[in-house]
Symmetry: C2
Subunit: 656 residues, 2 copies
């Protein structure tokens, strides 16, 4: 008779172990953080005793749910904006609000709010991806939940870093300090192939492999992502990330909606886990992932809620139900994804997908005591039938609600008893979150009267965050400079000739930015107009850094196709005043010393302010910007322009 810390007895236990063992009435013996034994009550009670014995009568005990993909601090943005196109939602609402409000405090509070909600609905482990991820880890560890916490890396500026080098450095530091935590598995999250450079993917994989921690990312979420990938790299998403050595790391890939059979096998061979997010995939119109096929191939597929801003809650019961229903509905086979399989995804397979299957996901000897008790006898789940051994799985997946969860334990410690959260002050969390909501409301109400929101409101804008290093020099005649381009040190990749008609709208509040209506007339080699394109660009306030002569401009732009007339936009946006610029532009894309540059030879015809040469290059890092700044000076001097004539003014600033 071995004495243990705790015995829970007289309950139906769904272990979710590889044999799907069910013990009824069952019991579990827990010592410290771990499960010492689980089995039939008679056997457990004959081998173990404890001064603490709990009766689980009328409840089902099972492993806690594993939320395999989420962005928990976004609880604070729940319901901020719904029923919008992904770009409008993301670029028009989420990212501007995140830029304004996301701070360590925001992340910490959002995590605590999310943990309270997740504990209430029976979640014991989750895989998170956000900014200031250390705050997620801190709050989660303090509350006592288990999580894979992934620090986001992006090629764009984020709320926690201006350049990706900083995010990577933050990730390394975070991982090295949290590596051996009992509850937290630190991780790095290159956001997605289309929001990361190849370099970021390589570096992230190397970092995760070095510390043997998971790498968390979004893969193949939308068909547009796959189409773009095929066009730009002539391959689908999974082979592309494989080529960037992503699978050197233990990958947790969220979504995988648009993957083919070969890609599923690649993921399987790579030992990658997949997080399926059915609510988010439908709500954002991404599609339905081929889960049935993934499971047949043997992939570890977990279920995630995704962030509460696109769901709008953290309820694994809703996700399970939807997972089963969608696979049945779209395979034409109502036996697809039976309840037991779906519950397995929501527990053990999810833990395996997160690469923490050795710790949690099933009730087995030696695993951590991460478990929940569910009341399966409420009105909405009555009566209960016993004739079918799978009936209990079906009850939980098809009829139980998050509010039926009674008790939650993580790592041997109770986080909820009889629906009372232990150690979390819900009233205070709600109060603090209401304060954030009030401030965000104020921000948005103010912004709703802004040019950007009006631009968003007329549809289809996409944001472009650009960092450009550029140098502009006034010249008398472009011909001698153009002749200089015919030189072996400069490779001309492309040349285009066009006329640009720009109409600028200025607003009383300069923070609103400047709205440009542009018509581009492309002129072919015969001097004929080949194509006309119209678009709107809202140019945000520009921040400048000087590098020698050159200027590093970082600015955000919102682009939208201009389907209406200039008159329409004038009436719609009601600018304070307008300016017009018309120019003839010959644009070269060249390669010089292995770097690509645009060289524009501009002749400003309205107003008549003469000729200019402009050399530009995109950049994503500070180090890169410095290197390019040297090359631009070299190029300008080589072409023979006079650096004394350099100007940092935009054309629009030269116009009275």
């Amino acid at each position: 008779m071995k004495n243990v810390d705790l015995i829970i007895r007289n309950t139906e236990i769904l272990t979710m172990d590889p044999d799907f063992s069910v013990f009824n009435p069952g019991a579990i013996a827990i010592s410290g953080t771990s499960i010492l034994a689980v089995g039939l009550e008679t056997e457990i009670l004959s081998d173990y005793s404890s001064s603490s014995v709990i009766d689980g009568k009328g409840k089902i005990m099972m492993p806690g749910f594993v939320n395999a993909h989420t962005h928990v601090p976004m609880t604070l943005l729940r319901g901020l904006a719904d029923d919008l196109r992904l770009d409008v939602w993301l670029m028009g609402y989420m990212m501007p609000v995140e830029r304004e409000f996301v701070s360590p405090d925001f992340v910490n509070l959002g995590t605590r709010l999310a943990c309270a909600e997740m504990i209430r609905s029976g979640i014991t482990s989750f895989a998170d991806m956000y900014y200031f991820e250390e705050e997620v880890a801190k709050a989660t560890a303090e509350i006592g939940m288990r999580a894979v916490c992934s620090q986001t890396v992006l090629k764009f500026p984020t709320p926690d870093s201006q350049f990706f080098e900083e995010s990577l450095e933050m990730s390394r530091d975070f991982i090295s300090r949290w590596k051996n935590h009992d509850l937290i598995v630190p991780s790095v999250a290159p956001h997605a192939p289309y929001t990361c450079t190849a370099e970021i993917l390589h570096a992230s994989a190397a970092l995760a492999a070095e510390f043997d921690v998971p790498l968390h990312t979004h893969l193949a979420e939308t068909s547009v992502e796959v189409e773009n990938m095929r066009r730009e790299n002539r391959m689908p998403v999974i082979p592309y990330v494989k080529k960037q050595n992503l699978f050197d790391a233990k990958v947790l890939a969220a979504h995988c909606v648009h993957v083919d059979d070969g890609e599923i096998h690649t993921l399987h061979h790579a030992g990658a886990g997949v997080a399926h997010n059915p609510s988010s995939n439908l709500k954002l119109s991404s599609g339905v992932a081929p889960i049935k096929r993934m499971l047949e191939v043997g992939l570890n597929v977990g279920i995630g809620t995704d962030g509460p801003a696109s769901n709008n809650d953290l309820d694994m019961f809703e996700e399970m139900r939807l997972t089963s229903f969608l696979q049945k509905g779209f395979s034409g086979d109502p036996t697809a994804l039976p309840a037991r399989t779906t519950l397995l995804m929501a527990t053990r397979l999810g833990a395996q997908a997160m690469h923490i299957g050795h710790l949690t996901g099933s009730l087995e000897r030696g695993k951590r005591a991460d478990l929940i008790l569910i009341d399966v006898n409420p009105l909405h789940n009555s009566p209960r039938f016993r004739h079918d051994p799978n009936g209990s799985y079906a009850q939980i997946v098809y009829a139980s609600k998050a509010t039926d969860v009674q008790d939650v334990m993580v790592n041997g410690k109770w986080l909820m008893r009889d629906q009372q959260l232990l150690g979390l002050d819900e009233e205070n969390l709600l109060k603090l979150s209401r304060e954030y909501a009030r401030k965000i409301d104020q921000f948005l109400i103010k912004r709703e009267s802004s040019v950007l929101s009006k631009l968003v409101a007329i549809g289809g804008t996409e944001e472009e965050e650009s960092f450009e290093i550029q140098l502009k020099v006034r010249i008398d005649d472009p011909k001698p400079l153009i002749n200089k381009l015919n030189n072996s040190t400069i490779e001309i990749i492309r040349k285009r000739h066009y006329r640009e008609f720009d109409l600028y709208f200025f607003f009383a509040d300069i923070e609103q930015g400047i709205l440009r209506y542009r018509e581009d007339e492309f002129i072919n080699d015969l001097g004929k107009i080949e194509q006309v394109r119209s678009r709107l660009t809202l140019i945000g306030p520009t921040s400048e850094d000087k590098f020698e002569q050159e200027v590093l401009l970082s600015r955000s732009r919102y682009l939208a196709p201009a389907t209406q007339s200039p008159r329409f936009y004038r009436e719609y946006f009601k600018p304070q005043f307008e300016k017009e610029i018309e120019k003839d532009r010959v644009r070269y894309l060249v390669r010089y010393k292995d770097v690509e540059f645009f060289i524009n030879f501009d002749h400003i015809t309205t107003p008549t302010i003469g000729h200019f040469v402009e050399v530009k290059s995109r950049t994503w890092s500070r180090q890169d910007a410095e290197m390019k700044s040297h090359l631009i000076t070299e190029l300008i001097e080589f072409l023979g322009a006079d650096l004394e004539e350099a100007t940092s003014d935009d054309y629009i600033e030269m116009v009275r």
Copy 2:
């Protein structure tokens, strides 16, 4: 200052009226069963006073949900069987259990259990379709909910009637007595085009039109239904039912998953309502209805839970969420079915689809006081944003749970206050329902060891409930009889020739029925075998009625394609003993006096028991059976067989 029975004040009111009026803070004045006024609190309080004023602080008030299609007594079958093919689920589980257990008491208890669950989740009105529908009406009226109660009519025997004439008579009686009830709208429910004859559809429509009550039915639920309809009637489902004059009545059509644009317009012109059941349609693999298009055309589309046996609960929050998500996910447009539209479907449009829109579905002066109050500030729905006027709709559709409903009023009477049901003894309901579950479990556990369940377990069975009127006569030589067929009074529609090899399995328990393995060899005009088909038939115990010489046989058969060898079935079913019969059969389908008959000329070769002629016809009603019985005798005599040689034995009974 007018005095009223009740004022509810200081709450955000979503009226769901045609202007989508929102009052915040709003108030409502109620007198008797009806809404006297709804508006801004300041206005209502200056016009009305009451000794009973309730503060709705922190809650949203809205019309109660309208569950536009369900089978409420099936709460007692919730979770009985899941993850099965529709035919196995329906024919193997639901129908056998219903045949055994459905009684007025079952229906009454199931309705009360369902009403308790529906009130808890904020449903105030529902459209039901079941057997013993008067019991649904009685229980619902007693509890105080509003419902359209539809008595089912089928061409098969049902738990409440043997022939459809009885069901129609029950419906007429039920409708005439409940016609002017304050809460119940009685109605008739021809189950579906494929489970009703054209005659039943005509008669049901005429009945509903005569009393001006709704007609409730299932239309175009599965693609198989549409394919069969096209094959048999050369048109899709909606034109077919139109041809049967169905739209003479006010139709409520459940499902309409597989309808084209023309059919949507037909439904619209007919003033028919549609009930969308997304959970059921996915769970049973039926598909996704084109709701977005239906709404564009202007159809009244409500949302239903369908029966709790295929859902598995009665939760309109789950259905709303799924309705929005599915239309977004499958239109490729995340702005499709925004929350406000979905909430409209779940309230006013649903009431209009049920043809009770003049009574309920929105909070407007003159409508009945059917309303609910929801707590929109729980943890899983915090924080709240105010900047977007549609934010409250999104909160309810995307993040609220059924358990957030606080108060429910129907017809001016509170049914739930502060989550306490008034006038329903939940504990007793649960106790009684557990007793039914125990009995059904016993029945199924016993049956699970039966031949039928084993047949079901190996897949794809379909049930055929047949009523046949037949006469069999021993003859010496078929030739003279066959020659007689060439006569102007008999039209030969089809002739087939085949050899049949039958293997019969007999079991110790004769209630198990007899299992037949049959190979049919079709023989073409050249005497060659053209096609071979193998199938299993489990022949249930036969009930017989004598009509003159003829026998009316009613029996249930379960058919399954036989994909395995006779050896496999022998080992799998372990019969007590077997019999073999081999025969040569020439089968004519003829028309005689406007009625179709099968005439079989059988030569039994193993064992050698000689020649027989058999005349058969299907029948669906007793009156029809009597008429056909006369014609069969005439036919047999006309062919020249000796009625003295008539036998009511099956061939199998003639074999030692």
